[in-house]
Structures are given as structure tokens and as C-alpha cells.
């Protein structure tokens, strides 16, 4: 029976039957073939580790034997003072860090982009490169350089302030609990302001020239032109910048690790979820590594970012209009 069908399918007398069956089957195959490479790589690098992290957070190692404890790790993280004190502090620092970026980095990025897109500005390419350069530097270089600049012992900052008679204004900002996190946030803003600047600059360049000329003829110039014409057209890009900032901040680790070390000193004043996770998972100095509690923190970070991104996608982006230019 199979053979007969096969013969029939191959027979040139039945082109109609082949047309119906052939493409449908072929279509399914090529979809799978084209999706496979990306899916395999993504699964191996993202989905498997993520799933395993979620799984780890539900277990605890008792006498070197993994035991399922349900959500008990989360209860410990939120309520056991040995963990919760650090966790809530790190979370608070993370929100402070994020607020600093959203309120400073994005507005400065927008302002720089608006200035760069002024048609009469000279040396545009120079400024563009100069503002973007820190973004291209390694965080190790940035962190270490700023650590040196701000060092009270051999840093250039006290000398420079002294040169303009403000030596008294200098404080070891990175070494004081009250200012360390703010200083780090400023360094981070300095480094990454190039990203919102470039994205928004590109969005502004995409605004048709005639539209701006129409605004000029309508008497809408200068800041009013920015507020009434350009800003509404770049809102979607600002939204993207904000969500990138959000994800970047709650995943932040590198700069703080470079400048303040894994202990996020002074006295955990710069501790954020990233450094807290690092210490917990891998261990640090006298602290032993605890993969299960580490996974629990990582899961919390994942959930926070997921909540933020979802809120953006479903709450903000759905309501934001993109205009065909």
C-alpha cells in the first residue's frame, strides 16, 4: 500500500495531488531547519542555565546532599536577618543606582543628542566621539582610572581642586559610606551616557528635514521646537533607553566590583544585588560559597527584571505611539 502511494505521488500524472501535499510538508521542515541554530544556541546559553538557576533556588545542600526545600530559601532571604539585611540593602542601593541613571543619564543623553543634532554645530564628529569614547572603554579601565583619580593619596582630583583653590572641597568620596554609591553612580553615568546619546541622536537624525523646516516657518524654533516637535517623535527611543537602563542597572556588577571590590565597601555601602550574588554564590574571604542561596538571589534579580520589562512592554509601550515619519 505504501509503495503504491509512493508510486502515485511520483507519477507525473498527478501533479495536483503533489501540489497539495508537497509544499505543506516542505514548509514545516524548513521552518525547523532555519530556527534550529538560533534555538540551540539560545537554549544552551540562556534557557538551560536559567532553568537550572530556578531549580537550584528550590534546593538546599544538607550534609552535601541536595534536598528540596520549596520556597524556603526565599523565606530565609527575606526574613532571616543574616541574609535579609544585606538583601534589602542591596535592593535599595539598586533602586538608588537606577533612579540616578534614569534621572541623570537619560536627560543628559537627550540633551547631548539635541546639541549634537544642531545643524550649525562645529566639530560634531569630535564631540560625538568624545562623548561615546568612555562607553567603548573596558569597565576595568574606567573603574581603575576613576579609583586613581579620586584617590586621596595619589589621585589627581585633590591637586586639580587645589589648583583652583578648592582643595577644601575634596573628600575621599569613594571611601565614605554617605557618598560612595553616588560617586559610583556618577562614574557609571559618565561611562554609559554615550548609549542613550547615540540612540536618541540617531532618532533625531531620522526626523525629516522638511518637518523641521515646516516648524521653523511656523515660528517654532529653539527649545519650543525640541519640546513640541522633536521630543514627541523620539519618545519611543527614550522608552527603549529607559528599559535598557533598567536591565543594565539590575544586572550591574562589573564597575562596583572593580572599584569597591566584592565586599562593595566601605561597609557594604555600595553593595547591589550583583555583588551580593557574587559573594553568596562563589564565596568571598571568610564567607563560603552557597550555590543555592546564590541561585535564590539570582532568581530574585530575574523576577525583578522580568516584572520591570513586562510593565514596560504591556503598560507603557502598548500605549506609546510610533509615528510614520
Amino acid at each position: 500500500m505504501d509503495q503504491i502511494e509512493k508510486l502515485a505521488a511520483d507519477a507525473p500524472l498527478l501533479p495536483a495531488a503533489r501540489d497539495v501535499a508537497g509544499p505543506a510538508r516542505a514548509r514545516r521542515w524548513h521552518i525547523a531547519v532555519f530556527l534550529a541554530p538560533a534555538l540551540l544556541v539560545y537554549t544552551a546559553l540562556m534557557i538551560v542555565p536559567l532553568a537550572d538557576t530556578l531549580r537550584l533556588s528550590l534546593f538546599r545542600s544538607i550534609e552535601h546532599v541536595p534536598a528540596f526545600v520549596g520556597l524556603d530559601n526565599f523565606r530565609v532571604l527575606f526574613t532571616d536577618p543574616r541574609w535579609s539585611e544585606h538583601f534589602w540593602a542591596a535592593l535599595r542601593h539598586n533602586f538608588y543606582f537606577f533612579a540616578f541613571h534614569i534621572l541623570l543619564q537619560n536627560p543628559v543623553g537627550i540633551a547631548l543628542a539635541a546639541l549634537l543634532s544642531l545643524p550649525r554645530l562645529r566639530g560634531q564628529a569630535f564631540y560625538r566621539t568624545a562623548f561615546f569614547l568612555p562607553t567603548m572603554l573596558s569597565f576595568v579601565i574606567v573603574g581603575f582610572t576613576w579609583k586613581l583619580i579620586l584617590s586621596p593619596l595619589w589621585g589627581v582630583a585633590p591637586t586639580l581642586l587645589g589648583a583652583v583653590g578648592l582643595r577644601g572641597w575634596f573628600h575621599p568620596w569613594l571611601g565614605q559610606e554617605a557618598t560612595a554609591l553616588t560617586t559610583l553612580a556618577l562614574i557609571s553615568v559618565w561611562q554609559y551616557v554615550g548609549i542613550p546619546m547615540m540612540l536618541i541622536y540617531a532618532a533625531m537624525l531620522a526626523i525629516p528635514h522638511e518637518l523641521i523646516e515646516a516648524a521653523e516657518l511656523d515660528g517654532i524654533t529653539g527649545f519650543a521646537q525640541f519640546r513640541k516637535i522633536k521630543l514627541p517623535l523620539i519618545w519611543p527611543t527614550i522608552g527603549i533607553c529607559s528599559i535598557l537602563t533598567f536591565v543594565g542597572n539590575f544586572n550591574a556588577f562589573d564597575l562596583i566590583y572593580t572599584v569597591s571590590g566584592a565586599n562593595a565597601g566601605p561597609n557594604f555601602a555600595t553593595d547591589i544585588l550583583g555583588t551580593f550574588l557574587f559573594r553568596t554564590f562563589f564565596g568571598n574571604q571568610l564567607q563560603l560559597g552557597d550555590p543555592n542561596m546564590g541561585a535564590t538571589i539570582a532568581t530574585m534579580m530575574f523576577l525583578i527584571i522580568l516584572a520591570g520589562v513586562s510593565a514596560y512592554l504591556f503598560g507603557i509601550q502598548a500605549r506609546m505611539r510610533r509615528y510614520a515619519l
Binding site: L211, D218, G219, T221, Y323
Partner: protein
């Protein structure tokens, strides 16, 4: 209101001279069309009048007031762009009213003026829509409405119909002509389409290479072109230019005959001034275009004479025909290409 005076306007972009001393006077209420081939400077001239580009030298006066270096919004002008340039994030009503609210005009006044303009342009039903929800023709009308509400003394149009399809173009052309009659404002209109120029203009300015070649009423340019360029540019199909002996007999370097002024007869019917074989025929129903090879005649350019015959006349390719210019319809040009007075 709305007279315009240009004296010795020139404009250079770096080493490129786009306008080379343009003088022009436009009376209040006139409809002036700038026409010319691509790169002739017509759009640049319009932008200089608008204040979007600053002239390199020369004086620009609107209503007798010197407007050099005056910002665009303070010149009492409004402009309609080729791409419409509507604000994509604003409704039709806000698009039209934005300039007024920027000037600080009361909301009630803005509303009244927007309503007047939208009634004139049949935009009433569309006031709450955004540009993306409008068709090309509707966007064009909004762009015109945005200009009208400002009550300018001078309207500037930069190829406003070139993004519309042919049917819509004819309709909008008529609307613009009506609008000019209703508003009585001065209008300056840039186009490369000579039909628009001929039908809309009180006065046509033909530009080439940044120089004004001729200024005049449409039929004046048709009947009395100042030189070869204007003669060839105005009229469609293009005028036939003939040199050599045929021209020398009339004491001219070149003579020109418009296709519609060539009488065509079969060779058998007797002599024509020029005799040749039909190489191509275009039958449009209302009229017929014949392209005739005339080897003995020194035809400039295409090497074929074009004749336009009213009605549908069935000549086949290869038919031999005689062509005779109508009496008094031959244009004569001297060595420099300038017209020789009849």
C-alpha cells in the same frame, strides 16, 4: 498685500553658484510660477524667499520691507512642502493650529480660523485624525490648510503636486487655482511640470542655471519665447528646431516650429516644405503624434520632426509625408539662440 521684490539675489553653496543674480518683481495678488529643469535653482530661490536659506548677496523685500536675515516665521509667509511635512504626532486640527498657538493667539480664534480653513478645503470630517490616517490628497490639503490659517500675505508652494497620482494632481491643481481666486493672496509656486505652470500662473519665471531666462504670462512665453531654451521648455511636445539651409533661407541660425503648427499631408498630395518617412506614430484618439524622419533637413536634437495632428489620423510607419509649417508660426533664432523679432 504680499508684493515681493528680488534684486540681484545670488546664492552659492561653497564653490557652486546656484543663483546668479535674480531680479524679479511680483505684484500683490499675483500667481507666479518658477519653472525650469532640475538643478536650475528654482527650489533654492523659493527657499531664499522663505528664509530657509540665506542669500549670499542681494536684497529681498516683501511688501516693501527688507527681509534679509529676517527669520522665516517673521516674514508673513507660509509654505507648502513637496513632502507635506505634517507633524506626524498631531491631529489635523493641531497641525493647522500649531503656528497660531505658538504666536500666542487665543484658543477660540485659533478654532475659528482652523474651522474656516477646513471648511474651505473640505477637511471638516478629518480634524481629529492624524496624518498617518489620511490619504495623499488629504495630507496635501492639510498642508495647504496649515498655510491658510496663518493668513500670510505670501504663499510659497514647493512642487506640491509631485507626490500625487495623475488624477489627483489635476483635481488639486484646480483647487489651488480656485483657492488663489478666493483668497486673492500672492502665491509663488515651484514646479518642473509645465502644465501646472501654464494653467496656474499669472506669470511664469523660466529659470536655467540660476539665471532668469524669461518672465511673462503663460501664452506670451508660448507665443514669443525669448530664446531657444524657453521655446524648447514651454510647449509639449517640444518645439522642432531646424538649422542649416532651411534656417538660412529665413535669415536665421535656427528656426523652430511647434508640432501643432506643422501641417501634414501625404507625399502624393503634393509638395511639403520637408518630406520624410513616418518612423513612429502615437495615436491618442484626440490627437496623433507623428515622428517623421527627414534626412535632407538638419533637425537639431532628436533628428526627427514631431508633428501633432488633431484627431485620429491613421498613418503607418514608413508612409511618406510632406510637412509644412503654418504661415507665421515659424520662430527664428540668431547665432546666440536669441529670438529674432518678426
Amino acid at each position: 498685500m504680499g508684493s515681493l521684490s528680488l534684486s540681484a539675489i545670488s546664492k552659492s553653496f561653497g564653490v557652486v553658484d546656484v543663483l546668479k543674480g535674480v531680479d524679479l518683481d511680483v505684484a500683490a495678488g499675483e500667481f507666479v510660477v518658477f519653472v525650469g529643469p532640475s538643478g536650475c535653482g528654482k527650489s533654492t530661490l523659493l527657499r531664499v524667499i522663505a528664509g530657509l536659506d540665506e542669500q549670499t548677496s542681494g536684497d529681498l523685500r516683501i511688501d516693501g520691507l527688507l527681509m534679509n536675515s529676517v527669520p522665516p516665521a517673521k516674514r508673513g509667509i507660509a509654505m507648502v512642502f513637496q513632502s507635506y511635512a505634517l507633524y506626524p504626532h498631531l491631529t489635523v486640527a493641531r497641525n493647522m493650529g500649531l503656528a497660531l498657538s505658538q504666536e500666542g493667539i487665543a484658543a477660540a480664534d485659533i478654532k475659528r480660523r482652523v474651522e474656516t480653513a477646513s471648511a474651505l478645503l473640505r477637511l471638516d470630517a478629518l480634524l481629529d485624525r492624524r496624518p498617518a490616517e489620511l490619504s495623499g490628497g488629504q495630507r496635501q490639503r492639510v498642508a495647504i490648510g496649515r498655510a491658510i490659517v496663518r493668513q500670510p500675505s505670501l504663499f510659497l508652494f514647493d512642487e506640491p503636486l509631485s507626490n500625487l497620482d495623475a488624477a489627483l494632481r489635476a483635481g488639486t491643481r484646480i483647487e489651488i487655482a480656485k483657492l488663489h481666486r478666493q483668497l486673492g493672496a500672492t502665491m509663488v509656486y515651484v514646479t518642473h511640470d509645465q502644465v501646472e505652470a501654464m494653467t496656474l500662473a499669472d506669470k511664469i519665471v523660466v529659470l536655467r542655471g540660476g539665471i532668469v531666462e524669461q518672465v511673462g504670462r503663460p501664452l506670451e512665453l508660448y507665443a514669443r519665447p525669448a530664446n531657444l531654451f524657453v521655446a524648447g521648455f514651454i510647449g509639449s511636445p517640444t518645439m522642432n528646431f531646424i538649422g542649416g539651409d532651411s534656417a538660412a533661407r529665413l535669415r536665421a541660425a535656427t528656426i523652430g516650429v511647434r508640432p501643432e503648427h506643422l501641417l501634414v499631408a501625404p507625399e502624393s498630395a503634393g509638395a511639403g516644405a520637408w518630406i520624410g518617412a513616418v518612423s513612429h506614430a502615437e495615436r491618442l484618439g484626440a490627437d496623433t503624434m507623428l515622428y517623421v524622419d527627414v534626412p535632407e533637413v538638419d533637425v537639431l536634437g532628436a533628428g526627427m520632426l514631431t508633428a501633432r495632428i488633431l484627431g485620429d489620423i491613421d498613418y503607418a510607419v514608413g508612409d511618406r509625408v510632406g510637412l509644412t509649417p503654418q504661415a507665421g508660426k515659424v520662430y527664428r533664432f540668431d547665432d546666440d539662440g536669441n529670438s529674432i523679432a518678426a
